[in-house]
Amino acid sequence: MFPASRYSIQAQRCIRALKTVQAEHAPSQHYTWGRNCSSAVMPRITSHYTIFPRDKDPRWEGVEMERFADEADVVIVGGGPAGLSAAIRLKQLAKEQEKELRVCLVEKASQIGAHTLSGACLEPSALNELFPDWKERGAPLNTPVTEDLFSILTEKYRIPVPMLPGLPMNNHGNYIVRLGHFVHWLGEQAEELGVEIYPGYAAAEVLFHEDGSVKGIATNDVGIAKDGSPKDVFERGMELHAKVTLFGEGCHGHLAKQLYRQFNLRENCEPQTYAIGLKELWVIDEKKWRPGRVEHSVGWPLNRNTYGGSFLYHLNEGEPLVALGFVVGLDYTNPYLSPFREFQRWKHHPFVAKTLEGGDRIAYGARALNEGGYQCLPKVTFPGGMLIGCSPGFMNVPKIKGTHTAMKSGMLAAEAIFPKVTAEDPASETAGLHIPEYEDNLKKSWIWKELYAVRNIRPSFHNYFGLYGGMIYTGVFYWILRGKEPWTLKHAGLDSAQLKPAKECTPIEYPKPDGKLSFDLLSSVALSGTNHEGDQPPHLTLKDDSIPVANNLAIYDGPEQRFCPAGVYEYVPLETGEGMRLQINAQNCVHCKTCDIKDPSQNINWVVPEGSGGPAYNGL
């Protein structure tokens, strides 16, 4: 395996030592590969009907599976900025042109905004187009940005980087918002315009016409027990049929994942690459409060080859509130890295700690976000539907903003759909309308120009100098040349393929949480208010129950116990016999989608749990 002759004496000794280590651990590896030689009994983990179909399950014999169906003109999946903007725009057009249009929106959260999490610095460009009178309508944009700081952190010090105008993350003219509250306000505007909004109902299944076009969606079934059998209160979900269905599930939506495969939407783009963002809200000491101040940092505690950084925004909404958080690119290679613990230890940096000292943490949450940009945009229209918002992924990564582009994509979708759904004769080849005009409009809009100009910044981090190479590239090619260089850099590939085996990496020593600035995982999860009906099949389904121990634990030391920001995945010792088993604490899930993205075996398939479960974020 190793051409030993090519190496120095020290290297040869090292290689011999490694081989001994491998040999010592080999027996336990065989053990946990378990199929024939293990005597331990692995309890079944997955019971969801997407893995074990109910038509073959004897417990479901004779159960009424008919679904109630209803028709709308447009059905929108997801009540986030994109979905709501699309709904609002459709109703605005209907009002202008005095046409009737039934728009239904389903959202898995118990109330609009409860699953929304973002920094966030909102660029009001799309909002100005949607509601030029947003101020009179009471949109919660209360904090204009007054100060913009950027730093490179080392373990103890801070190197300030000047925020020159023209740099992508310059925030002049933007507002610090609590996106959950903004989305809630959008929901109220939508309801006033007559959009039917149904929070607490998750779209669990895409429905298809005979000709293969999308017919609509079906909401989740309720009343299935943890072992997959029907309970007394079992009821089927409802079918919502539409001429066009918009999918705005946000980053890495589970229905979108299905649609990519069904319609081959990703054949001409790179696989999407992601990051995980963790966020907290703190009430700080009034003396330290600087409303309107935006702080970003890169560097410590991440090494130069791990993409990521922090944000800290001072809100101006009455009490001295700051929104802070940490983003880690999910293309990281060390399986011992824990984004949650990096976040917690970053707070101890003197520059950050001085703001937080004496403060109280009042909220916590996490969500995956897109980092792929232009190179990863799939086809967004297909017969019967289209993708909007962060689902296909319009986030401007160096600007760290995706809300304005998500809203604009929703509006463009509405503008493309409206003439078609209100036309007397839609003249469509398929039963579900195919509206490629949406994609054409996107390509002509400012979204496309914006994403094209910044397309090379994120991939430029994939060089030996990592972060510093990327910053130099940004300085030269973006700040000076505005992204006009003729080449387009590639990303590194699938995030899940980037992990190195555990034996090639060093475990990271994280400091213990001190309970004042940094905290443990479980108390953080409690603050997210997340909860699910306990007696339902775990919605983190595994295609093969044996792979976590056989592959994830054996080769990568179980990275899911570290990257999950909610403590869903735990490797616990088996009750009898030797070895470990994976325990999935599905009730903790905060719907961030990181596991579906980063699982090195791509064995985890996140599906939607019963509606109204999940986090209960309040203005995150």
């Binding site: 209160v233 208010g529 997340t530 909860n531 209960a616």
Partner: protein, 242 residues
């Protein structure tokens, strides 16, 4: 002509961490996830079950509070109630309201609607008072079956199995009566989307406590701390309590 009144309360969801307001005047409720009190869900389920078994003709869901409680009434309607009544109380009045005022409202409504049963949850998870059901029965001078874990209607009487400290107690009370639901009474059904859509067409009547002859809650006086038992006795004698 049997009609049942069911009380539903909108409370902060049990899984959410409560935060005290910075001015210590109460807890933060703005934007916080609320849901129907779990014991009220059980009460609604029991009422709907009784209707399905044809013991009663109509179920009316009642809630007292600001505009947001209509969402809770809507959920009750989606679970099978026929119509709703929203008794509007908001702002400071809502914060000052307690079981006594609610019982007065329910007693007035029970008389007005000629209800044969009033079914409430045994307690709310935010204040844990466990008083409204009992007070309502007292104001109406009706029999009460509290902590019900099983309810059977037998002609003009109701057989109630109650969960008490020593175990289970079975009582037979005549209607009209007040029942309060305990945990093991039933498993509430889900409010499914087709039912929520149908519930949008059901009526929710709007009224104020004054319309029912119930006046505003008195302002709560601050408490007084005393050092010794003698002081306590002296103070109680002074204000006429003993």
């Amino acid at each position: 002509m049997s009609r049942v009144l069911v009380g539903v309360k909108r409370v902060i969801d049990y899984a959410v961490k409560i935060r005290v307001k910075p001015d210590h005047s109460g807890v933060v409720t703005d934007g916080v996830k609320h849901s129907m009190n779990p014991f009220c869900e059980i009460a609604v389920e029991e009422a709907v079950k009784l209707k399905e078994k044809k013991f009663i003709k109509e179920v009316v869901a009642v809630s007292c509070g600001p505009t947001q409680v209509t969402e809770t009434i809507r959920t009750a309607l989606a679970m099978g109630c026929d119509r709703g009544i929203h008794v509007e109380v908001s702002g400071k009045d809502y914060e000052a309201m307690g079981p006594l005022q609610i019982s007065k409202i329910f007693a007035a409504l029970a008389k007005k609607e000629e209800a044969s049963l009033v079914i409430l949850g045994k307690q709310a998870i935010d204040d844990d008072c466990n008083q409204t059901g009992q007070m309502t029965a007292a104001l109406l001078d009706w029999p009460q079956g509290t902590f019900a874990s099983e309810v059977t209607i037998d002609g003009e009487k109701v057989k109630v199995v109650r969960e008490i400290d020593g175990g289970l107690e079975t009582i037979k009370i005549s209607m009209p009566a007040v029942l309060t639901a305990d945990l093991r009474l039933n498993t509430p059904r889900y409010a499914t989307l087709p039912n929520i859509m149908k519930a949008k067409k059901k009526k929710i009547a709007n009224m104020k406590p004054a319309d029912l002859g119930v006046d505003e809650p008195p302002t709560r006086l601050a408490g007084v701390k005393v050092e010794t038992v003698d002081d306590l006795v002296a103070k109680l004698k002074a204000n006429g309590t003993i």
